[in-house]
């Protein structure tokens, strides 16, 4: 299921970027870089269907037909979200949070590290642990697209490693990932280790007011830093 943007303008009242026309290939990791305020989060919220685009269409192509982002019922089965900061003050246990999106047993079989936390409240986990639960939950909701908004922003090195590992596992099960991030090192390391077939459909873009400009997926760390300005 490719994610297709067709002349999409995102923003609140005023468009933050020029019209975006783009196809994000299924099975790939799609990284959106951009300085603060360029509209990464707004773009993600729009792609998630939380916010309507100011113009244009967002669709998933599905065999013969296609799904539109404003069809919330169908969209939620194929597109799941991981916010930047795991939610605070949630008294539900890890098992209860996972159960909101599918059988928790399935999540634990894919991510055995969640096992010991099942009966703990989400609020008692560290940010790194809670973020892993949130990613596992999103993967229960959708086998296709995961949308992540700066998922490593609040994680230490170990937490970041766990997160990239989970995303790699998702891609290996032919899932797709779209991520807004500043984590250049993480992106760079992932690119160097990713299998060629996944890399082939992956992309790195820099978001600015003029739109999304592509970067070579074998870009050096220096090139990424320069591109992000």
């Amino acid at each position: 299921m490719n994610l297709i943007l067709n002349n999409v303008n995102v923003g609140h009242k005023h468009p933050l970027t020029g019209p975006l026309t783009m196809s994000f290939g299924a099975g790939g990791m799609h990284v959106v870089l951009g300085a603060n305020g360029t509209g990464k989060t707004t773009l993600l919220r729009t792609v998630l269907g939380v916010q309507a685009p100011l113009a244009g269409h967002i669709t998933l192509d599905e065999g013969a037909g296609s799904l539109n982002a404003n069809d919330h019922r169908a969209w939620e089965k194929h597109v799941a979200f991981v916010p930047s900061m795991p939610p605070k003050d949630v008294g539900l246990t890890v098992a209860e949070v996972l159960s909101l999106s599918g059988p928790w047993q399935e999540a634990v079989s894919h991510h055995p590290q969640l096992g010991p936390w099942l009966n703990q409240r989400l609020s008692t986990l560290s940010d790194g642990q809670a973020q892993q639960v949130m990613v596992a939950r999103a993967m229960l909701q959708s086998n296709h697209w995961l949308m992540l908004d700066e998922p490593t922003a609040f994680l230490d090195v170990r937490g970041q490693r766990h997160l990239w590992g989970m995303l790699t596992a998702h891609l290996n099960r032919s899932g797709s990932v779209m991520m807004a991030t500043h984590d250049l090192r993480g992106v760079h390391r992932w690119m160097q280790e990713a299998p060629a077939d996944v890399l082939e459909v992956s992309s790195i873009h820099v978001l600015s007011s003029s739109g999304l400009s592509p970067l070579a997926s074998d870009a050096s760390l220096d090139a990424l830093e320069v591109a992000l300005g």
Partner: protein
Amino acid sequence: MKTRLVFLLMLLALGLHVALGEVDIAWGELLGALLTGGEVNEMHATIVKEVRMPRAITAMTSGTLLGWLGLLMQTWFRNPLAGPGVLGITSGGSLGVALAVLLGWALPAWMAAAVGCFAVLLLIGVGARRFVSPVTTLVFGLMISYAVSAVVTVLQSSATAEALQTFVFWGMGTFGKASFLQAMSCMTLQVLLGMWMMRRAQWLDMWTLGEDLAQTMGVPKARLHLEILSLTGLILGVVTSVCGPLAFLGLATPHVYRFFHPKRGHMDAIQGIGVWGGLLALLADGAVRWTDSMAMHWPLNAVLAILGAPVVLAVLWKRTHDWS
């Protein structure tokens, strides 16, 4: 603690509430007469049917309803100190009743209270969308309370003594003025809200994870807001009109549940808070009736504040991270 145990305690409180009182009911005689179709002691039957039963049922159902609304507000605003009272919704009811009683408008008190509650709730709903932070929303609600109190004070200054007295007594709150019909309406609303909350339990669980995330998980925000606003307005309007503006029950009951029970999922919380709300309201009204029998006549709201304020203080004191 098991919810079933609390349920049994609530039934016990309900039984005692109906059984005990200033008039000793000859229960054996009364029940026997009802069963065998014999001569019924009319006075005793009337006391049970028209005084004690409506009062007990109104107390129990109002407690349950307010506890549920407290849970709903705390989940909706993701704030442990939210509650129908704190958000100024009840003050809206007061304004409605003040306008009706003090200005002598030809509007039944319950309708005036319902309209007032609904108006404030709508304002808060608009504000909540505008102000992202729950604290801002709470301050917003608080400011509405202040503004409403100011208007009520102005109205009071020019009201007749008789109207003023009616309004002040209404403000003290009581379960004792409810008719059988009003008790039954509260019970109907209890069934309605209970069924709605069970049906929406999963949406409410999702909502605790955050507004954006909940929406991507399939919660239709606009529809949920509309349902919450209309149900809260309707129910708070009816309860406030029947019992007066009741303090603390909505805010404190969910915390009493959280203190005794570990489960935080809404399906469990709805059941637990439902029975705790009924039990606490019956206990508070028991205290009111006891002071009545001692000729001290404590108002219901005074008893609720004495019971509820320490609970709220305890929450602030021991701000746990698992309140939701």
